[in-house]
């Protein structure tokens, strides 16, 4: 298995097309207070938001890049060459018919309106900086569910928005959460009233169309007592030769007994730096589950977390990462236990192919005087050939005698023997490899909603040639 000619073709071509830019609003190149003010002006931000942004910009500038632990590749991001806000200058539309032709075509090629008709309860589509389309099914809206863009959310529902905005992930959490707080635009705001169980998933689709652009969506989901929601996000961008930055902040709040399931299939093109901060706050008996699949991007750094603040709260992260040539998937999870009888579970599977690098980075924290907290962490890594790399860097802090934490990780590879076994039963080498890889992630993928497990299996449909020596 030491040959170098492994090839893996994941279907990244779906998103690899771009239309000419038709932006009316453009904050220009580079980042300065005037950039932030421009964004605030265009969005007609209330004063408190403008101040929040300007303060965040200072925090961003004061923080160094975290290269003392993270990849030095971060230094390849030229913050002064990025465009921070681009929009067609139109209102978010409620009907696909009203969406500008080019943009509509983009989303049609990605299959979004079609999926909406089939199985989604609501869709929001973001094109560069702003949502161009946002709609929920009438029945869902009638139950009091709010599903709008973040700008609309903060203007029309300030009483809920302001209470939680920036509370789960403070501006200064890290350099990129500060950046997002300064220039955020787009993303979803969702509120589910007490007891409402949204049957079908709500979906957001993020699309970067412009070169040298940074997308900074901000999502805030609040699910009230006993309510339930599933949110799915997808993302694509064309393959530009220059680096593109995507830096989102996603905050979830699950009130007593609420359930949130947040699903991401990240398939950015391999020039995108994907530096995302995601965290949920789970109150008593609430459950937050992150399902995180990272297939695209050049460098992804993303560690979805759950702060279990109420008794018997539960957090879960299921993570799949696929790192091909030139990709570094630095993903993982954070579980902060802050109340008795809280439980968390992390299952991470990564696959490194060619010169790809997959990294698991995790944090489990059980502070003092808590009782009966439990965490289980399992990380499995699969190496496809001799040039790939995999790392595991968990950090586990446990205080006190009443808790149990266990962590396990293993690294393995598709063995020549396995492949041989399948080949002599008539499978081609490519089929055998694909079967092995799908087998590796299968027990995890099976836990995903049906639509997504099918989609994911298709994405991980490998075409391997001559990779087994």
């Amino acid at each position: 298995m030491e040959t170098d000619n492994a090839t893996l073709d994941i279907d990244r071509t779906v998103g690899d097309f771009a239309y000419p830019e038709v932006h009316v609003r453009d904050a220009g190149v580079g980042l300065a207070p005037r950039t932030v003010n421009y964004i605030s002006d265009v969005k007609e931000d209330p004063d408190w938001v403008r101040e929040f942004r300007l303060k965040a910009l200072e925090v961003f500038e004061s923080k160094p890049l975290p290269t003392h632990w993270a990849s030095k590749d971060l230094e390849a991001i030229h913050f002064d060459k990025i465009r921070y806000y681009l929009s067609p200058g139109t209102e978010t539309k409620r009907s696909w018919d009203d969406v500008p032709e080019d943009i509509k075509k983009t989303f049609e090629r990605l299959g979004i309106p079609e999926n909406e008709r089939k199985f989604l309860a609501g869709v929001e589509a973001q094109f560069d900086s702003e949502a161009v389309y946002s709609n929920i099914k009438k029945a869902v809206g009638d139950q009091g569910v709010i599903f709008v863009g973040s700008t609309e959310g903060l203007k029309k529902h300030p009483e809920i928005f302001r209470k939680w905005f920036g509370k789960v992930i403070p501006t200064g959490d890290n350099k990129f959460s500060a950046l997002n707080s300064a220039v955020f635009s787009g993303g979803s705001f969702i509120y589910v009233p007490p007891g409402v169980k949204v049957k079908h998933p709500l979906q957001a689709y993020f699309r970067i169309n412009a070169e040298n652009f940074g997308q900074f969506e901000r999502t805030l989901i609040i699910v009230d007592e006993g309510a339930e929601v599933t949110y799915m996000e997808g993302c694509t961008a064309p393959k530009f030769t220059t680096a593109t930055l995507h830096s989102a902040v996603v905050e979830l709040v699950a009130m007593k007994g609420a359930k949130i399931q947040y699903i991401t299939v990240q398939n950015w093109s391999p020039n995108v730096f994907n530096l995302v901060t995601k965290r949920g706050l789970a109150h008593e008996e609430a459950e937050i589950k992150w399902i995180d699949c990272n297939i695209g991007s050049r460098l992804t750094m993303k560690y979805p977390g759950v702060v279990m603040k109420g008794r018997k709260a539960r957090g879960e992260v299921l993570s799949i990462a696929l790192a091909g040539d030139g990709q570094h998937q630095d993903t993982g999870a954070k579980m902060i236990h802050a109340a008795d009888e809280t439980t968390s579970n992390i299952i991470s599977k990564s696959i490194s192919i060619g010169k790809g690098r997959a990294t698991y980075r995790g944090l489990v924290h059980v502070p003092k005087h808590l009782k009966n907290c439990k965490n289980n962490t399992e990380c499995d890594a699969l190496l496809i050939n001799g040039q790939s790399r995999t790392d595991t860097y968990p950090t586990i802090t446990v205080r006190g005698a009443g808790n149990a934490v266990q962590h396990e990780a293993s690294v393995s590879q598709v063995s020549a023997e396995q492949i041989f076994y399948m080949q002599q039963r008539g499978l081609t080498e490519a089929q055998a490899m694909s079967l092995s890889v799908n087998g590796f992630v299968n027990d995890l993928v099976r836990q995903f909603p049906m639509e997504y497990s099918v989609e994911l299996k298709r994405l991980i449909d490998l075409e391997m040639e001559g990779s087994v020596g």
């Binding site: 005087h369 190496l383 968990p394 006190g400 005698a401 808790n403 149990a404 690294v411 590879q413 063995s415």
Partner: protein, 433 residues
């Protein structure tokens, strides 16, 4: 926090005081001192010092240790309690050799060199230089390794020639005497091709409450097919600050087993690196830590697989009570082309009190293929069922808890090959519980 040492002035004069010292060692001291002063103190944000109590590393309160008076010396020699049978014993007190006993006549006859390092540096300069502090310090304590290089006076050089097997363990005792005294013990061991030896280092304080500072280094080198068992018993005073920097180099088909028993010190940091530089090499890294009071144990490890077909197996167990705190940061690194590596790493923390804190950072960096690597980390309390089993048989709770804890630690001790050494360690653990 201060990195200035009260012992500094004496050091500058040290080389001229002892003209017999090989010049290169003197140069090494000067270079070590320069590096020590130039290198920064560990910082809170330094990844290699994550969770470490960096603000407790104040070196300004320690002095160069003075030779102990004869009466004290005899007392300390009398207090050395090792194995019933050993091949030889050396005792150092405050970095001065106070006793050297060779019980086994075989040693000299077979060409085994066993000498205090200052003597060996002169008499066996060539081989000594080839191995003395040649391995890079990669786990964070470069500054303290430099300090050691500048100050080292005590410790042993053990050279086992090709094919020689030393049956009985060799024991070395290091005593720290007097408040604020410092010690810089060194162990340099070269086991040539197909040789076999067991070495035990004991680190102890004369007064269990005296503050002290220890900064030790050990360099273990295994030739092809060599077999080494190394045990260190760290039992400094409960007010001591201790750094121990361990390096093991394992050649082709050689097998090293090292065991660190951590009992003493207020703050103890141990860095252990095993480099597997030849195919077929194997390294077993074991540690038992009994932490109580406000003790802090900071253990950092690296299993560095540089060649194919190498094996490493790490098992660290910590028992924590009171307000004790432990840090474990371990990394299995499989270099490109070190295919068919088999590496395992396991850390288990048993927390016996609500104020204890265990931090675990078990890491993997795999750059090769066809490897079998896994690690596990657990933190938990005494299993209620195990406890109940003992209670239901009339064993009172404190004794039952002690039994379960001893059983938990015994799994590590059992990995040692020698019955006598196992019994010795079990005794030390029991006395400490």
């Amino acid at each position: 926090m201060s990195s200035s040492l009260a012992i500094e002035p004496e050091l500058d004069e040290a080389p001229s005081e002892e003209p017999r010292r090989a010049d290169w060692l003197g140069h090494g001291r000067a270079a070590g001192w320069r590096d020590f002063k130039a290198l920064p103190m560990p910082h809170r944000l330094d990844e290699k010092w994550r969770f470490s109590p960096v603000k407790d590393l104040d070196l300004s309160v320690y002095n160069r240790a003075l030779p102990v008076p004869p009466a004290v010396r005899e007392g300390l020699i009398g207090r050395c309690s090792g194995l019933a049978e050993s091949a030889g014993r050396m005792v150092f007190a405050n970095d001065h050799l106070v006793e050297r006993e060779v019980y086994s006549k075989e040693l000299a006859r077979k060409g085994v060199i066993w000498a205090p390092i200052e003597k060996a540096a002169v008499e066996h300069e060539e081989i000594f230089r080839r191995h003395f502090m040649t391995q890079e310090v990669v786990l964070g304590s470069k500054k303290f390794a430099a300090l050691h290089k500048a100050m080292v006076k005590s410790g042993v050089f053990l050279y086992v020639p090709r094919g020689v097997e030393v049956e009985l363990p060799i024991e070395v005792f290091h005593w720290l005497h007097g408040a604020g005294a410092s010690s810089f013990p060194h162990t340099l061991l070269v086991a040539e091709e197909m040789s076999k030896v067991t070495l035990i280092d004991y680190f102890e304080s004369a007064d269990a409450d005296a503050p002290g500072f220890a900064c030790g280094v050990n360099d273990l080198h295994l030739g092809p097919g060599a077999n080494l068992t190394y045990v260190s018993v760290q039992n400094w005073s409960r007010k001591a600050l201790s750094f121990q920097i361990n390096s093991t180099v394992v050649s082709r088909d050689a097998s090293a087993l090292s065991m660190n028993l951590n009992l003493g010190a207020a703050v103890a940091r141990a860095e252990s690196v095993s480099r597997l530089v030849g195919t077929g090499g194997r390294s077993d890294m074991l540690a038992v830590t009994v932490a109580s009071g406000a003790q802090q144990f900071d253990q950092r490890t690296l299993q560095d697989h540089q060649q194919p077909n190498t094996t490493s197996d790490l098992l660290y167990k910590n028992v924590l009570s009171d307000k004790a705190r432990t840090i474990f940061s371990g990394l299995i690194r499989v270099e490109p082309h070190a295919h068919r590596t088999d590496a395992y790493q396991k850390v288990r923390n048993l927390l016996l009190s609500d104020d204890a804190e265990a931090n675990s950072m078990p890491g993997l960096e795999i750059l090769a293929d066809e490897v079998r690597c896994s690690h596990g980390a657990t933190s938990g309390q005494i299993d209620e069922e195990e406890l109940f089993y003992l209670l239901s048989r009339g064993i009172p709770p404190p004794a039952a808890k002690k039994l379960v804890t001893a059983g938990f630690l015994n799994e590590v001790v059992e990995r040692l090959p020698s019955r006598a050494v196992k019994d010795k360690l079990r005794g030390l653990i029991e006395a400490r519980q």
